[in-house]
């Protein structure tokens, strides 16, 4: 067991170094492609584009380490930002509105947590349900309207920089939260319990770990962080529409898994997740500078996600001496043929219309 843990730890150490190496490579390539990349002001400004992702990533690390998932996190973001905007448009003070929205996000997280922990429902299904439900409530509140006209004291959350410097306020918020979440994960009993639940939940129950309470706590945390991310996002946009942050849950999960947190639970580090956030941030920023469309950037992120799991596995298989027998070669050849045929048709049929 001890040996197993230490060898695991070595693997994760390697994983984080790999992320660092990738970050260095991306930095060098980006700096060569665009002279605007290695510019302190630009880099600092671009961090604020990723802070809502980072803030949602923190509880997601907790949740995935316990072997669960929260697909509703971006919908909770949408619900709390929309509720705040709706109350604000109804004449409420913005901070009071935000406080109410924060309270509702606690309830949203609590509903997830109770259904998952008490009723023992699978988190994937519960949060697919609440993904629709919470986002739906955001639409019910705002409809096709947008809430806008937030006071400068509020938009400071998303747009402001620390007095005199160029450091965005949101970056500071993230840094403080990341430190707290990291310490809780790696230095407290609560953090150890998260790993324990992820690697062997029945054993945890038998040894008296308060599994239910811990699960409810992490889903409530997820709700609260989603609300914070929502406020920052709304503050940055200066307005709220009910579709705010739609689909961000997938990016958050991608970053978390890319950071080496196992989707099956039981392993992963906060440092890894933060490095993955930096990597994805730099990749997106660099691609944006050389005018790569957002959706095309998503291809690179998606590839990175799959390869980050696939390559280590294939490497292990190869090093385990799995030879390239005839069957494997035949299958590989078929796969390559299908891919080539698809690619040929892809570009051929595309050219027919676009060159007319």
């Amino acid at each position: 067991m001890t040996q197993n843990t230490s060898s695991l730890r070595r693997v994760f150490l390697r994983w984080e170094w790999l992320l660092v190496a990738l970050i260095v490579v991306v930095t060098i390539v980006n700096a060569r492609l665009s002279p605007f990349f290695l510019n302190g002001t630009n880099l600092l400004r671009t961090t604020s584009d990723f802070m809502e992702l980072g803030i949602m990533m923190l509880p997601m690390v907790f949740i995935i380490i316990t072997g669960n998932i929260d697909l509703s996190i971006a919908s909770t973001l949408g619900l709390s930002a929309s509720l705040m905007g709706w109350l604000f448009m109804g004449g409420w003070n913005i901070w009071l509105a935000a406080a109410i929205a924060l309270l509702v996000s606690v309830l949203a997280g609590l509903l997830n947590g109770v259904l998952i922990a008490r009723l023992k429902l699978p988190s994937l299904v519960v949060t697919i349900g609440t993904l629709s439900f919470y986002r739906g409530l955001a639409y019910v509140l705002l409809g096709d309207q947008a809430a806008r006209g937030y006071p400068p004291s509020f938009t400071y959350l998303g747009q402001g920089t620390l007095g005199g410097t160029r450091i965005p306020f949101a970056l500071l918020v993230f840094a403080v939260l990341a430190l707290i979440f990291g310490l809780v994960l790696h230095k407290t009993t609560f953090g150890r319990y998260l790993y324990a639940i992820g690697s062997n939940e029945p054993a945890c129950r038998y040894s008296g770990v308060p599994v239910e309470r811990i699960k409810i706590i992490i889903f409530v945390l997820s709700g609260v962080m989603a609300a914070l991310a929502g406020f920052i996002l709304a503050a940055r946009f200066g307005s709220t529409r009910p579709d705010i942050g739609t689909g961000l849950e997938l990016t958050v999960i991608t970053i978390t898994v890319l950071g080496g947190v196992s989707i099956y639970g039981g392993s992963g580090t906060m440092v890894g997740a933060i490095l993955a956030l930096v990597l994805v941030g730099l990749l997106r920023f660099g691609m944006g500078l050389v005018n790569v469309q957002g959706q095309v950037q998503a291809i690179v992120i998606g590839l990175l996600l799959i390869l980050s799991i696939l390559l280590p596995r294939l490497g292990r298989q190869l090093s385990a001496g799995l030879a390239w027998d005839r069957n494997t070669i035949r299958k590989t050849a078929m796969a390559v043929t299908v891919a080539v045929l698809f690619g040929l048709f892809f570009f051929w049929s595309r050219a027919l219309i676009l060159t007319q």
Binding site: F133, A298, G302, L303, A335
Partner: protein
Amino acid sequence: MIADSEAYRRPQRSLVQAFVKFRELGIVLIIVVLAVLVSLRNPAFLTADNFRDIVLNISILVIVALAQTLVIITRGIDLSVGSMIGLTAMMVAFTIAAFPAMPPLFAIPLGMALGAALGSLNGLIIAGGGVPPIIATLGTLSIYRGLIFIYSGSKSTINAYEMPPGFRELAKGTPLGVPNLILFAIVVAGAVYYFLRYARAGRDIYTVGSNPDAARFAGIPIQRTIFLVYVISGLLCGLAGVLWAARFESAQTNTALGFELQTVAAPVVGGVNIFGGSGSVLGVIFGAFLLGIINNALTLVQISPFWQLAAQGLLILLAVIADASISRRLQRMTSRPNR
């Protein structure tokens, strides 16, 4: 109707059988109650025309939800279905527009082949590479959606006037009295029903999902079975893509964006176990039908359409809670743990 569901179970598992029976009965009851309530408010609900509308609206969902069901039975999930539909819809629409003289029916095998190619990549990554399905398809969700943008380039929409008029008949034509779209859904449902009940590979899907270890000992090719369900998922998404483009007479970069959630919702509401191993075609159709009725009813009783998404989410939650309480009662009745 209910008796049919027995067919999906092996005879010795009579308790699970009873459970499935009850499960589908539950949905039917909800559907009946809902229908009565809505028709009290608006008699237009219980008309043949409205029924036809509902069925037409859920036809594509039924096709893709059945594909999703096959995947879920093997303990997997395919989050890339929306992107596969969008990509095949766009590619088929382009090809149809480039060759107006081509018989429109040709679009069907073309779309299915393209979809199967996309699905086989998913299958390869999951069955061959050992990547967890949720991660692999989360990745290809982004990749395939991005490919739509690369493919369409400066032309983000392809519209009705660019396609030959015969193409829309694929979905809207009524040579047999009902719209073709509904016929396609019926044929797919029949094929999946037959496949799951009688085909060896179909039976293997249940075994792999309910007990992978036993499947291995029984000599069932697990990897091939898992690969197969993702190929079928891609194939049916390709078909759905063609029908989508024909029905809406357009293909856009955001076609079927987010559709994956509904395709998971229908099986879950229809009693398919998200942990794999069980699920019936009839249940999935009822699940999709319930989703369709709710959307239709909201309009008829003049509730703001903005409630649609929230109602859908609430329905999913209620369905899983009901499902869990039933199976827990079942668990108490038998000492054997029930997955």
